[in-house]
Symmetry: none
Subunit: 460 residues, 2 copies
């Protein structure tokens, strides 16, 4: 039996030590993208492994990769119990622009009940929630599930070495569910569980017109201009109502789950927040859909980069020889990146303007993810939230992609549940990243409840 | 009396020196648009002034401006004779893309009877024709007209400082006609005199969406993407039939002169050449008009440059904060650049997409030009061509703009005749610009004949 009072008391009693330990962890500048921090990333892996052993996690080991190490560990109490794999990452984003930090990014400080440091929320603080929850569970020998841990040091650079590691250690990491705390709650008043992530198909297209830049006076009017043609092609990717025009693109798009309609209504109140966050005067997008639907439940197509001809000061009167664009489509269930890539290819073949030679490169992609609200993983997360927050969470989708989630699902054949405790205002990837102490402690309190409920739901 | 044999012999005798002098001139990288070449532009002005003095031009002086210097000189033989002002420019287009040059742009080389260098045809080589023609005329004291010279260093950036200079020195530069060699012959077999130039209105537009680059997953679909919006705006500038959609833009467009219909028919045979020159598979443009009409008698609109977001290797998943384009409209009689600028401004105001802040900069412009085939200027040029080429020239319009032609006409109250010796295949404004040696020498031979005929026709 989970003794809630005992859990709460343990957290209250050890709060200062927990924070001090997290501060020690945050002090290590484990920036994965920058080679000058390489030794620091290794130090963070060692600190983490050492702390895991210290709190009673077994078979802890550090696995070097061609990049940064992967740290794993486990607590197997009974092969008959369900097994949960906790995924997290101990690497962080670069701290720059450095001079916009009010306190140095790797000298964590507590101000107004928040810890300020790079990685405080993304993801060291959220990863640490799982270690402190384990510490309590181990102290009272409460283990409704077997628990495995995998912490990587390359999430912020696209996890290049995790998929082969997963494949190679699939048995060692085998589990019934994957538990990840690397997302946000809508707010402390409106807790949420992330059930959906969009996928991605990312393209680069080149339009070649004349073989060389031409004088726009001598030739302008008769010769196909690849920049004008590219603009026309890009414009043609959306209809006036904001829908993407690529044929059959929406064929695989599923309607919202019945349980989501309430969420969609609820989320309308955040449209103003979206405007404030982005600084745009007006929200646009696909007609007939709310901003939440547009960004989380519907595919979207954005130009990510575009270039052609003369970009310098003043004027140069040319018809450019070529024009380029990077554009990407965010995918939703049940779209598949491979299928969408083919649709885009066909669309381009059909709509290549006269006189233009078009070349398409597929840069990268990933399938979307959706966790059913009827799954044991979601139900366990929702019940745990209800236990601690006193209200049911909203099953939310987010518009971004976490490619590793689909890798984990495919390789380990287990559903992943995204039970994050951050807030969108935590400034992750920005100066003055922070993590609310209340978020941290509430997270620690919630996790043991998740295991309790998961053990109940998993085998029913 | 003009002694044709003596003229030919002089050119043959001094050919190698002429070419060497021109190569010395071309070696100076007088790129006017880029501040890093500022000193080189000044050096070119000094080289030019020094050479003018050397060949006997009088009252040569270099006039500094807030930009690049203007060089003038003259040979006044008799106030009773007509006066011709020769205009040229010693500045050149930027050489980029640098790596497409087969030999460096500022290390002139002769290959297959052509000089390859930036500025070889546009306009240093053609300007130099006038100096060498003068050199011969001075050597034999043959001056049927007074001759004045004005050479500027800012033609490729729109001649910002020439109009005030003209106004200020209107008396010093007063003349009966302006003679300019900055255009092309149709071919050596089909010589032509340029009677028409298109005008220009050149714009830079910025579309601002969000205040900063956004995560295209989290926000994609709801937030206006300035790159997509710009593509849509640009695409909307043309109708499906190739006509420009800007309201009232065609109101001032005149039909061809009666003498031009034959030329229009004749020019149809060059459509294939146009494809070969440009390397495009198909000519496009306004439906119902030949390529010659499209490029010379009809307005056209081209994107000259375009940029937004991420242009590097691989993928970056952002909604860019802003998107930019440079675009320009070529104008034909009787369109006026000031009026067109207003029409474009209004069009943008009317068609700014929702959520986008648009900013329009008018970079430069110039009115179109048309010289009557009945004018003494045209008749003198045609007669000179007939003397040297053995056949009448075609009165051609060209699609390019030489804004200064209209300034010269307005300020000095004199018609300008465009007697150019380049070819459309010279790759001006492109890598591997070149100028045929035969064109260069034939030009030198033709110019003295022009003076002879002009003296006859001017006062009848």
């Amino acid at each position: 039996m989970l003794n809630s009072v005992q859990l709460s008391n343990y957290i209250i009693t050890h709060k200062e030590r927990f924070l001090q330990e997290l501060i020690d962890f945050l002090r290590i500048p484990s920036v994965s993208t920058d080679p000058q921090y390489r030794e620091d990333v290794r130090e963070a892996a060692e600190w983490l492994a050492s702390h895991m052993k210290h709190i009673g996690i077994e078979n802890v080991s550090i696995h070097p990769t061609r990049g940064h190490p992967i740290v794993i560990g486990e607590k197997i109490v009974d092969p008959a119990l369900p097994t949960v794999l906790v995924y997290g990452h101990y690497d962080v984003q670069p701290p720059d622009p450095y001079d916009l930090w009010e306190s140095p990014p790797f000298q964590p400080v507590i101000r107004e009940e928040k810890i300020y440091a790079r990685g405080a929320a993304d993801d060291k603080g959220q990863l640490f929630i799982h270690l402190k929850a384990f510490e309590w569970m181990n102290s009272v020998r409460y283990f409704p599930c077997n628990i495995k841990f995998i912490f990587e040091g390359e999430e912020e650079i696209g996890s290049p070495h995790l998929p082969p590691f997963l494949t190679h250690h699939a048995e060692r990491l085998s589990c019934d569910a994957v538990l990840i705390s690397d997302t946000s709650l809508l707010s402390m008043e409106h807790p949420s569980v992330t059930i959906g992530l969009r996928g991605l198909s990312y393209f680069e297209v080149e339009f070649q017109g004349p073989t060389h830049d031409l004088h726009s006076g001598v030739y302008g009017g008769a010769v196909p201009n690849p920049a004008n043609a590219l603009a026309r092609f890009i414009a043609g990717l959306h209809a006036d109502n904001g829908r993407i025009t690529i044929e059959r693109l929406y064929d695989a798009v599923l309607p919202p789950e019945p349980e989501e309609f309430e969420v969609i209504e609820f989320m309308r109140r955040f449209d103003d927040r979206l405007k404030q966050e982005t600084g745009v005067r007006e929200l646009t997008g696909e007609k007939g859909y709310s901003a939440y639907e547009q960004t989380a439940l519907r595919p979207s197509l954005d130009v990510n980069g575009m270039w052609s001809g003369y970009q310098g000061e003043g004027s140069k009167t040319i018809i450019p020889a070529s024009a380029h664009a990077k554009f990407s489509i965010r995918l939703v269930p049940d779209q598949r990146t491979d299928e969408v890539n083919q649709l885009v290819k066909k669309h381009l073949e059909k709509h290549t303007p006269p006189g233009i030679k078009a070349t398409l490169k597929i840069l990268h992609g990933g399938d979307p993810y959706l966790l059913s609200v009827h799954s044991p993983e979601y139900r366990a997360a929702a019940a745990a939230i209800e236990d601690v927050f006193g209200k049911k969470p909203l099953p939310l989708r987010t518009g971004g992609s976490i490619p590793i989630v689909t890798h984990l699902r495919k390789t380990l054949d287990a559903q992943a549940v995204l039970l994050g405790f951050g807030l969108d205002s935590d400034a992750i990837h920005s100066p003055n990243e922070h993590f609310g102490i209340k978020n941290f402690l509430t997270g620690i309190e919630t996790i043991p409840h998740f295991y309790r409920h998961y053990a109940r739901f998993c085998c029913t």
